[in-house]
């Protein structure tokens, strides 16, 4: 126990030390995985439901029974629109595409009808470079079941009157643990069809599953430890308002919520493939260098940090300051200047891993840059 306590304290101290190292975050652009540089205006066609099943299941005494929830065509259409809206949501968040809304494509009921339309002789699209449409396979199941497990119950045998015989004991007991669960899976095929010349630019089939369980038998050691950490985090955070929005862990999400979460996750993956995206990358600062510039960088005050570092490095070029100047220029997207500063620092200290990593990061960007530049310039 004592050993465990001290190991934990040591781990916590190390984690705190690592966590306290000064950091900042840089916004990095990533090119699309699929070259869609010829496409600017995207119309969003219909999303077609291929399979949509929702059912509830219960289990008692080992007997399972299921009931399917019948979804009307109107409800199915709502699900299709909800998934479509989640995809458009993320597509419009990137400035890469202009999403065009036209009834011409939304009225088409299936992918086949779309392909027929665009391949028809003499067809000329008006202000639309490509059409995005999708097919959906969705299953959501809710379960009311019971776990069965043997648990040790602790018991203290008090000492007898003469003060002897007191002991801690345990007995084993078979206990029923009712639980509820929801399991959902969504497969979404997304197809981006260029209209002139007619070709399918991107076609992806991704699937996501979601599972959430409440109740049931007690958590195992690892789950128990994770729960303990969550409780610790909850204790450290400020107490929540008595009635705040959001779904706590002990409540299962509704059918609509599961659909929204799954669709959003798949859409994010698709957008990453076809559009330039931006990500925040946490970056460590060097141990040395001007402290004021470092606190400015931690606070993302890039312009003031650049002014200060330029003044400092003009008279006395400390290598860490040069590296930090490179970081500032990288943060504001001026990769060429950033690379010069990283290279200056690295040339004078070629053993420094941090300088080399920064150069490597920019070289990777440069490798991707022709693609990125092409993708951005075509806009």
């Amino acid at each position: 126990m004592k050993h465990f306590f001290f190991s934990s304290m040591l781990g916590l101290t190390l984690a705190l030390l690592i966590g306290c190292a000064p950091k900042t975050s840089l916004t990095v652009q990533r090119p699309a995985e699929i070259d869609t540089s010829q496409i600017r205006n995207v119309a969003v066609g219909s999303f077609q439901v291929e399979t949509l099943r929702s059912w509830v299941t219960h289990e008692r005494e080992g007997r399972w029974e299921s009931q399917q929830m019948a979804l009307t065509p109107a409800q199915q259409a709502t699900v299709a629109r909800a998934v479509r809206a989640q995809v458009i949501n993320l597509l419009t968040e990137t400035p890469y595409f202009q999403v065009v809304f036209t009834d011409e494509f939304t009225a088409l009921e299936s992918d086949e009808a779309l392909q027929q339309l665009v391949s028809a002789e003499g067809y000329t699209p008006q202000g639309v470079d490509a059409v995005l449409n999708g097919r959906i396979w969705l299953e959501v199941q809710r379960t009311d079941g019971v776990d069965l497990s043997k648990e040790s119950l602790d018991y203290f045998l008090p000492p007898r009157r003469n003060g002897v015989g007191g002991m801690n004991l345990s007995i084993e007991e078979v206990i029923w643990w009712p639980y509820k669960a929801v399991h959902g899976s969504l497969a979404l095929e997304l197809k981006l069809t260029q209209l002139a010349p007619t070709r399918v630019v991107a076609s992806t089939l991704d699937s996501r599953t979601y599972a959430h369980r409440i109740g049931g038998s007690p958590a195992g050691f690892l789950e128990g430890a994770a729960q303990g950490l969550q409780q610790f985090a909850a204790m450290s955070a400020s107490p929540p308002e008595p009635e705040t929005l959001g779904l706590p862990d002990e409540v299962l999400p509704s059918f609509d919520q599961v659909v929204a979460d799954l669709a959003s996750s798949i859409a994010a993956q698709f957008v990453k493939r076809v559009a330039v995206t931006r990500t925040q990358v946490p970056t460590r600062l060097a141990a040395g260098g001007d402290e004021t510039a470092k606190v400015l960088m931690q606070s993302e005050a890039w312009n003031t940090a650049i002014e200060r570092l330029q003044q400092i490095t003009a008279s006395n070029a400390n290598l860490d300051d040069l590296y930090h100047l490179g970081l500032c220029f990288e943060a504001i997207g001026d990769y060429g200047i950033a690379r010069n500063f990283y290279r200056d620092a690295w040339r004078q200290d070629q053993e420094n891993l941090m300088y080399a990593q920064a150069l490597g990061r920019l070289e990777r960007l440069q490798r991707e840059f022709p693609q990125l530049r092409q993708q951005l310039q075509s806009r």
């Binding site: 306590f5 509830v56 299941t57 219960h58 008692r60 009931q67 399917q68 929830m69 709502t78 629109r81 909800a82 809206a85 989640q86 949501n89 419009t92 968040e93 809304f101 009311d144 019971v146 648990e151 119950l153 602790d154 018991y155 203290f156 008090p158 007898r160 015989g165 002991m167 004991l169 084993e172 007991e173 078979v174 206990i175 029923w176 643990w177 009712p178 509820k180 109740g215 007690p218 409780q231 009635e243 929005l245 959001g246 779904l247 706590p248 409540v251 299962l252 999400p253 509704s254 609509d256 919520q257 929204a260 402290e291 004021t292 606190v295 400015l296 606070s299 993302e300 005050a301 003031t304």
Partner: protein, 420 residues
């Protein structure tokens, strides 16, 4: 020893958390994610083009009114809900308007059921008192076993409180660490959930039509309701001798009142998923006017991203007030009187201002900013504070915050020029 150390660490952490510095709170205007052409002022929210077939909670009218109200509050647009758009509502040759259309989905569930837990029961004065206090701190349900022991499930927070109090009571001579037994309990719960999704598009109409934005945003609320009265002990372990009134008290071997090693009482009797759909929550499921309040918040949250996409908006910023300078100015900032702080700090001559005063002056300008020059002044004051105390992260954060506002200012100016 270890328990004492653990408890002391918690007390130190709580003391540190309790000594947090005062905060100044103020609003900053942020630009919309997209710039709507400046000539677009009128926004028609078209009731007839907003689907609501899956609006099970009947939120449509409330959502549309809330959207119009929010857009009008922000000042960029004149929004109104219309049942349809008549031809005479605007002249497309002379003006451009925006039309909002889309779909509202809402649902809710009441999910009832039964769960099992294992609780630990403590006896003795120290045990009972510390268990009750620990359970109260962690909002746990307590029950009593046949020996009037206090039973609770246990949680990190409750255990810390119970351990600390138990140790303190033991030191005060209220008995050693108490004997503990475990019991199996079954209880009933009701999970209430609400969900709203708003899919809206924003289309400008005039000489040309263009859909500028479409968003789908959802919000949800969920709560587990457990009635303490439903808790029942389905299995207890303790010495049978105590149950039988001392008949077997002289036996050496422990004897338990568990003829079969099965906690049969934990087996659920009812089937909870025997209908394809769970019922919708009724107004009576929420106390008082809580449902109305929750629905209002649900709608506001679902609309937030859409509103921020098309209209400049305000956000509340909390920034730490620096200590070590003029205390009256610092107090004024903490109380939200930024102009008073500004006036007071301006009266102190520049060479008498401490670094904290320069920072607080910047904060006062930022918190009461009316024009862009106020933000430029704020940045200057923050920079001066940092010049005097060069490693101060708080001062640098002020510069970073204001730099961001200044970067966004041009875009904001472009977006707001239409409404001036």
């Amino acid at each position: 020893m270890i328990r004492t150390l653990f408890t002391s660490s918690w007390i130190v952490l709580l003391l540190i958390a309790g000594c947090s510095p005062p905060l100044a709170e103020f609003e900053v205007q942020r630009p919309a994610r997209l710039t709507v052409p400046r000539e677009v002022r009128k926004v028609f929210i078209r009731e007839d083009l907003i689907r609501s077939s899956q609006d099970q909670l009947g939120l449509k009218a409330q959502v549309l009114q809330a959207l119009a109200q929010r857009l009008n509050q922000l000042g960029r647009f004149e929004a109104q809900v219309v049942s349809t758009l008549n031809e005479g509502a605007f002249n497309p040759e002379q003006e451009s308007v925006a039309i909002i259309q889309g779909e509202i989905l809402s649902s809710g569930e009441v999910d009832s059921g039964q769960f099992t837990d294992i609780a630990t029961c403590t006896r003795g004065i120290a045990g009972r008192v510390s268990s009750i206090v620990g359970a109260a701190a962690a909002e746990e349900v307590i029950t009593a076993d046949q020996l009037i022991g206090v039973c609770r499930r246990g949680s990190l927070k409750g255990d810390v409180v119970e351990g600390a109090l138990g140790a303190a009571l033991a030191l005060a001579g209220a008995g050693g660490l108490p004997p503990k037994n475990q019991v199996v309990r079954a209880y009933e719960y009701r999970n209430l959930s609400l969900f709203a999704q708003v899919n809206l598009s924003f289309t400008t109409a005039g000489k040309t039509r263009e859909t500028l934005a479409i968003r789908a945003d959802a919000s949800s609320y969920g709560r587990q309701v457990i009635d303490p009265k439903t808790f029942r002990h389905v299995e207890e372990t303790h010495l049978i001798a105590l149950t039988l009134g001392g008949l077997l008290a002289s036996m050496n071997a422990p004897v338990f009142p568990n003829p079969a090693p099965l906690a049969e009482g934990s087996k659920p009797r009812a089937v909870f998923y025997n209908q394809p759909r769970l019922p919708l929550p009724e107004p009576g499921d929420f106390p008082g006017s809580q449902r109305e309040q929750l629905v209002t918040e649900l709608i506001q949250q679902a609309l937030r991203s859409f509103v921020r996409t098309v209209s400049p908006y305000k956000v509340t910023v909390q920034a730490e007030v620096a200590s070590g300078g003029d205390s009256e100015a610092a107090n004024a900032l903490g109380q939200g009187r930024a102009l008073a702080a500004r006036n007071r700090l301006n009266k102190i001559s520049a060479n008498q201002r401490a670094a904290a005063d320069w920072y607080n002056l910047g904060l006062a300008y930022e918190a009461s900013a009316a024009v862009i020059e106020d933000y430029e002044d704020a940045r200057r004051f923050y920079q001066e504070a940092l010049r005097r105390d060069s490693g101060n992260l708080l001062f640098a954060q002020g510069i970073g915050r204001v730099e961001r506002v200044l970067d966004e200012a041009r875009r904001l100016d472009q977006q707001l020029s239409a409404s001036r």
